[in-house]
């Protein structure tokens, strides 16, 4: 008897608690999902572009450092009148190549230029670290 009443009360409680969602709920949600997928695709494209830009920038910095080191080495070589080796010739060639390459962009290796370049690199480093740690972008 009690069991029957309990079952009856259970079914009445279930009926009272169940609420229907608005009519177009599923369609609206599926549209949101499609949109979020599209945003994700766009984000991926942007991420790839940013990766290329960063890689290019790193390459530029490395070649810049390489050129500077050869520039100073060749200066020392000239001052000490060292015998030019095969290796030195290749070095001078690479040095000349990068010096010519940078001169195309109007860059000449003066003391001020080095200072500005170092300042820009430090600033770039700080921004990258802040971007990753504070804004958590993490490309």
């Amino acid at each position: 008897m009690t069991e029957e009443i309990n079952k009856f009360i259970d079914s009445k409680i279930s009926n009272s608690l169940l609420v229907k969602t608005p009519e177009k709920f599923t369609d609206k949600l599926m549209r949101e999902i499609e949109l979020s997928k599209e945003f994700e695709r766009q984000d991926k494209k942007v991420n790839i572009s940013v990766r290329y830009i960063i890689s290019g920038f790193i390459l530029l910095i490395l070649s810049f450092a390489f050129t500077i080191s050869y520039y100073f080495t060749s200066q020392l070589d000239k001052e000490n009148s060292l015998i030019e080796s095969e290796y030195g010739n290749i070095g001078n060639y690479i040095n000349g190549f990068f010096t010519n390459l940078f001169s195309v962009f109007g860059i000449t290796f003066t003391k001020e230029f080095f200072l500005y370049a170092i300042a820009i690199m430090v600033l770039f480093g700080i921004i990258t670290i802040a971007d990753k740690r504070i804004f958590k972008r993490g490309y």
């Binding site: 009443i5 009360i9 409680i13 709920f25 949101e32």
Partner: protein, 215 residues
């Protein structure tokens, strides 16, 4: 049920987004009932449920859900936590499932369940609008359902959320206790008390014999 869910989830994870629609259709009403019990506002509840489903979709795609766990419990915990987050934003208050807001000196156990429930407020004229009320049994059915609905809407949220999880979301008392971080005894006690109080209300209006005849 778990098998069907697993099958749908596998389809979603293999890139079939339309299968997610199937999952939404299976769970949306039961999840909406829980969200609405917490937020008590249809628009807020709809927003919150949409967020919950988006979170679910993301977690399925990223394979954060492991099939060895029960899917419904996993999903309802997302629904509950998202609704609580919305509640905080919406009311700038914390959602408190543990509080029992009865401070009256004459308080008796179970009193808070009928604090806002008044049988006399149930409008009998409403029954006339209902269909199929041509027999005495149908009239009684509609009347009982109205009383139960009124009672359920009047009980405090720390009872109604547990009742929804138990009766609508079909979660076990252990699962409810885990999601709400409440002792198992508290969960059992609230379900028992809510049901006993309702039984008391119904038996006060309809004698046991009459109620049994109706059943």
């Amino acid at each position: 049920m778990q098998d069907i869910d697993t099958e749908i989830i596998e389809k979603i994870q293999s890139g079939d987004t339309e299968s997610f629609r199937e999952l939404v259709e299976r769970y949306k009403d039961r999840a909406f009932s829980l969200t609405l019990k917490i937020l008590k506002n249809r628009y807020e509840a709809e927003d919150s449920l949409q967020d919950a489903f988006l979170k679910l979709y993301k977690s399925l795609i990223e394979k954060k859900y492991e099939a060895k766990a029960k899917f419904s419990t996993y999903f309802y915990s997302i629904v509950f936590n998202t609704a609580v987050d919305h509640y905080r934003k919406y009311t700038t208050k914390n959602f408190n499932i543990t509080s029992i807001d009865v401070t009256d000196a004459n308080y008796r156990e179970g009193d808070e369940l009928t604090k806002y429930f008044n049988e006399s407020e149930i409008d009998n004229r409403l029954y006339i609008e209902d269909l199929n009320l041509n027999t005495e049994k149908n009239v009684m059915s509609a009347e009982i359902q109205k009383i139960v609905t009124k009672y359920i809407s009047a009980i405090p949220v720390h009872y109604s959320v547990i009742l929804t999880m138990f009766y609508v979301n079909e979660m076990s008392q252990n699962e409810i206790s885990e999601i709400l971080t409440l002792p198992l005894g508290t969960v059992k006690n609230r379900i028992f008390r809510a049901k006993e109080k309702l039984k008391e209300v119904l038996l006060r209006k309809y004698p046991t014999k009459e109620l049994l005849e109706y059943i």
